[in-house]
Amino acid sequence: MLTNVTINGKTIAVPAGSTILAACQQADIKVPTLCHHPDQQVKAACRVCMVEVEGHRILQPACSYPVHPGMVIHTATPAVREARRTILELMLASHPADCLQCPRNLKCELQQLASEMNVRETPFPKALRELREDQSTVSIKRTPAKCVNCRRCVHACLTTQGIGLLYTAARGRSTVVQTAADAPLSETPCVLCGQCLQACPVGAITEVDDTDKVWDALADLTKHVVVQVAPAIRVALGEEFGGESGSIVTGKLVAALRLLGFDRVFDTDFTADLTILEEGHELLERVTHGGTLPMITSCSPGWVKFAEHNYPNQLAHLSSCKSPQQMFGTLAKTYYAEKSGLLPSSVFVVSIMPCTAKKYEAARPEMASSGYRDVDVVLTTRELARMLKQAGIDWASITADEFDAPLGISTGAGVIFGATGGVMEAALRTVYEVVSGQELGVVDFMEVRGMTGVKEAAVQMGDLVVRVGVAHGLANARQLMEQVASGSSPYHFIEIMCCPGGCIGGGGQPIPTTHAVREKRIRSIYNADQAMVLRKSHQNPAVAELYEEFLKRPLGHKSHSLLHTEYVPREAR
């Protein structure tokens, strides 16, 4: 049912019950917002979106107020502009003015609002809250003094991720979003997924910046610096240079990395293919020998940490396979070093990840199977973009290049790891052929793709019907895990990705990463897969060579000591 409203003199028909903001968006009239987030429930707390409604004594918040038939709205009257200006001035008075030092400089919503509203100074005395920074983890840094109380991170952690360790505390001017007792993140069950960071409009939550370590390594002539790139980077990095959301920039990405000075530019998709070989055989092993089922994927470190905190008694369900990132690091300092005649101690592994939790994963004590720290530094997509800009690399003009062999060879099954359902689909493509002995005609498993929170499929493979479940976002993961914990899970194999949309929606990706952006990146991931000649992991020639020359066979002795890992039960609260 439609209803007519008039906005700034323009009459349009909008669905009945729309908010004023939705009506304005439909009319292409811009209303500034801050606490509003397209993927979250309405908060109406910041009051930046106030508009004038004829017949109302006071202004109304566009984000929450519903239209009624014949409503007449004005979005830029003197009263409205005065209110917006005053509110912004009040915010600026309680916000630290160190923009030049802030990682969100030029990408900050508060800066944007101030700039759009032409607010350059504040008449109110500075009133900063004295709150300590939290640098207790290797992944995420909290600067609560910058919190604008928009509560977007609260929603991300509580509703999207089902964890809820950030909440509004205190009252009045002291109000701030913090952990219980303002404990450092390292003392909480935070999984370091960075969804809070993605939601934050300012620099109150940022990633730990490790670019200096990479610059140092690149300048160190005694080091052979190799870089691996996650699947999710190639459909997102372009956004940091003004590109369309989800545009595929693989070639430019490789070229840019080479220009930065990496000795080799490899692809995490390679070890993604490898993971499928190891994990696929692990699944079959469990199915045929009565192992713990359902088996659950383990390449998402945010998910793994979540499982360790919240389902410590179900850790046997997790695949013992390391993540592709970690398998890569180990192989770089063993197989690759050996093959290239390099001293393992001289190999320095950098990984570019869409993920803040990967920094934590790389630093886990057990991730040193090579005899050295397997992955030396993890950079998020954003940090890489910063390095490219620092190096003065002109993104628009670089010409595409290709990954190096052997650790840069991959199949379409590897690239789809970046999307929710991708690991599952990649696994099915291989397991199907192993079990049924037949070639898979159509390699696309559509039921496990897309943004639906929990997905499932039943695939006939020879005599076996393999039932699989897929969840992304930890609140959805909980749904499947409750079944597992109560012994009522109907699945053989479950894929869980910590972040909504899978890795393409990770905490390290370009900001913003909204639902709409996630969908675009996912579409590109499957396009990239479709464009490849080889689309099944077991077809990867470099992986075949790796087994022949080095690992011998999946789940063999060498695989176990280098490519598999164990998990640690942790406290719940």
């Binding site: 360790l165 909440y167 219980a180």
Partner: protein, 154 residues
């Protein structure tokens, strides 16, 4: 689980099904604390029993004036500073207490006896200026009455 912990859990469990139960649980745990405050273990217990994140319990506990998340004295003095008490001398009362107890609002005496706090209207304006010591209201205050009032609290 220790017997003491189990006892505390059983004490607040009935509140789960009551209206305003979470606040009642916080009141009960704070009242049972000799230092009149909610310790981290109290918040964790409430989070557990009510099945809400502990950050949310922290957010709730730090919102309301009657709760404290830091230890306090044996007796909590709350001096009303709202307008009806203000216009009949509340500030003199506060100043006298600060002098006699050698503390400022938010602080506790060295011997742990009193914590001094300022409060908003207590709803006994008929006997302004007024203060509360725990749940006891003292009204019609003058600076010279204060010593004898405090002497009641050992």
């Amino acid at each position: 689980m220790s017997e003491h912990a189990a006892h505390r859990r059983e004490k607040i469990r009935p509140f789960v099904s009551q209206a305003g139960g979470l606040l009642k649980a916080l009141h009960a745990l704070q009242d049972a604390s000799p230092e009149h405050f909610l310790a981290p273990c109290d918040l964790k217990l409430v989070a557990d029993v009510f099945d809400v994140p502990v950050a949310k319990v922290w957010g709730t506990a730090t919102f309301y004036s009657l709760y404290s998340t830091t230890p306090r004295g044996r007796y909590i003095i709350r001096v009303c500073e709202s307008a009806p008490c203000y216009v009949v001398g509340a500030m003199d009362i506060l100043k006298t207490l600060e002098e006699k107890l050698h503390i400022k609002p938010g602080q506790t005496t060295d011997d742990g006896r009193f914590t001094l706090e300022v409060a908003s209207c207590l709803g006994v304006c008929g006997v302004a200026p007024a203060l509360m010591v725990d749940m006891h209201v003292h009204g019609n205050l003058t600076p010279d009455k204060l010593v004898s009032i405090l002497d009641n609290y050992v």
